[in-house]
């Protein structure tokens, strides 16, 4: 569960004010709105990687999958298991899950390829898997479908439905179909330049 209280973010030329949104566990909440309306900024604030005014109550661990995939200079596989590795978890317990997800997203052929030489769709899928493999309490996805093909979007939809019951999921998106398929709650942002 996440609560915003009077959150606003100040940039040099604009102040973005947010309504007091709440995001519930077990639900998928979509954030929509035109370019520059502050979707990415809100997710970054919730992930606590950007300075903000006001309060954000967070329960549990929050992870953020950015709009542009930022993979480390490692292979796709090493990227996916990174969160498990740093938590010193036993990878063998996760092997079945990893294998299933990797098949789902058709990453099996490039699993041991250097991530930075993969296509942007492939990188995005790896980045999403890296974000969900360790089952964070809060999952923030910033426009996850923009680089994905139709089949991958379908698989992502199924996957999110499967894992959502124990998570708070917040997704920013312009993708009407994707939103219709998944949304429990939809928040629309307006133009911050007023």
């Amino acid at each position: 569960m996440i609560n915003l209280n009077n959150v606003n973010i100040v940039f040099s030329d604009v102040v973005i004010k947010y309504k007091d949104f709440t995001f519930k566990k077990g639900e998928i909440t979509f954030i929509s709105g035109p370019n520059g309306s502050g979707k990415t900024t809100l997710l970054k604030a919730i992930a606590n990687i950007i300075d903000h005014k006001g309060e954000i109550d967070r329960n549990g661990f929050v992870t953020f999958v950015s709009q542009k995939p930022i993979l480390f200079s490692k292979t796709i596989y090493q990227n996916i298991i990174y969160p498990l590795e740093i938590r010193k978890l036993d990878i063998s317990n996760y092997e079945n899950r990893i294998e299933k997800y990797v098949k789902l997203f058709e990453l099996d052929k490039i699993l041991h390829k250097k991530a930075k030489s993969c296509s942007s769709g492939e990188q995005m899928k790896a980045s999403i898997l890296r974000g969900i493999i360790f089952e964070p309490d809060v999952l923030l996805l910033d426009e996850p479908t923009t680089a994905l093909d139709i089949k991958s979007i379908e698989e992502l939809t199924k996957l999110l439905n499967e894992i959502k019951k124990d998570m708070t999921i917040i997704i920013s998106s312009h993708d009407r179909l994707f939103i219709e398929e998944l949304n429990d709650v939809l928040y629309e942002l307006g133009d911050p330049y007023v």
């Binding site: 992930a47 990687i49 661990f61 929050v62 992870t63 953020f64 950015s66 930022i70 480390f72 200079s73 490692k74 990174y82 969160p83 740093i86 938590r87 250097k114 991530a115 930075k116 030489s117 890296r130 974000g131 360790f134």
Partner: protein, 227 residues
């Protein structure tokens, strides 16, 4: 003239004159050791400076960038003053040790500055991403080293080139003493001022060939460094 010098270069090498080989050996080891030592400190400082925020960071960066272009002779003068001053107990003038120190100082800002310039933006993104995946401080440091790897080799090449080619610093603090502190560049400078042009061009050619060989060896590692 050039033709003569090429013959002379060949003769110099083939004469197996011990002095020539000593000079070449000293130049190479000096430049290599100075670069490797500066690499250790430079990578450390570079990562530290670019991945943290602190008061006066902009100033520190400007200072480093300024020292990247300092004329070696000015740096040599500075080390000379240090050596006869506060560092008197540590170094003696006209020794190999103080030459090493001068070249180290010359190369350090080049490596530090290059690491900062080349990795600052990626580091911010990588650190943020690592943060949201739950990385500890130590995990982040490890990641930064991995992400900085491609830039390490590049800064090493630049640093080595600077060290092997400079005259001013080694001349001032080393004194160009025969059989002791004479390097390839000070040999060239000396032969030149004595009017022995073909000797200096010959040594210049040897210097270029050696630099070419070393960069070729380094280039072989590039594949490992770049993804």
């Amino acid at each position: 003239m050039i033709q003569e010098s090429i013959v002379e270069a060949f003769n110099l090498l083939m004469s197996f004159d011990e002095e020539i080989y000593q000079i070449i050996f000293l130049s190479l080891t000096l430049a290599l050791l100075a670069t490797l030592t500066a690499l250790v400190f430079g990578v450390f400082f570079g990562i530290l400076i670019s991945s943290t925020t602190f008061k006066g960071k902009r100033f520190v960066k400007k200072l480093i960038f300024t020292f990247m272009g300092i004329p070696p002779v000015v740096l040599g003068l500075f080390v000379l003053l240090l050596t006869i001053g506060p560092l008197d107990p540590v170094f003696n003038l006209f020794t190999v040790q103080v030459m090493f120190f001068a070249q180290f100082l010359l190369v350090l800002p080049i490596i530090t500055g290059n690491i900062i310039i080349s990795s600052e933006k990626t580091q911010k993104e990588v650190l943020e991403t690592a943060e949201t995946l739950g990385a500890s401080r130590m995990d982040k440091v490890k990641l930064l080293i991995v992400e900085t790897k491609p830039f390490i080799l590049m800064s090493m090449i630049l640093g080595f080139s600077r060290a092997i080619s400079e005259v001013g610093a080694v001349m001032l603090v080393g004194g160009n003493i025969r059989y002791s502190t004479r390097t390839m560049t000070t040999y060239i400078a000396r032969s030149n001022s004595m009017g022995d042009y073909s000797k200096s061009i010959a040594m210049g050619i040897i210097l270029l060939i050696l630099a070419f060989v070393i960069h070729s060896i380094l280039a072989r590692f590039r594949g490992d460094f770049y993804d």
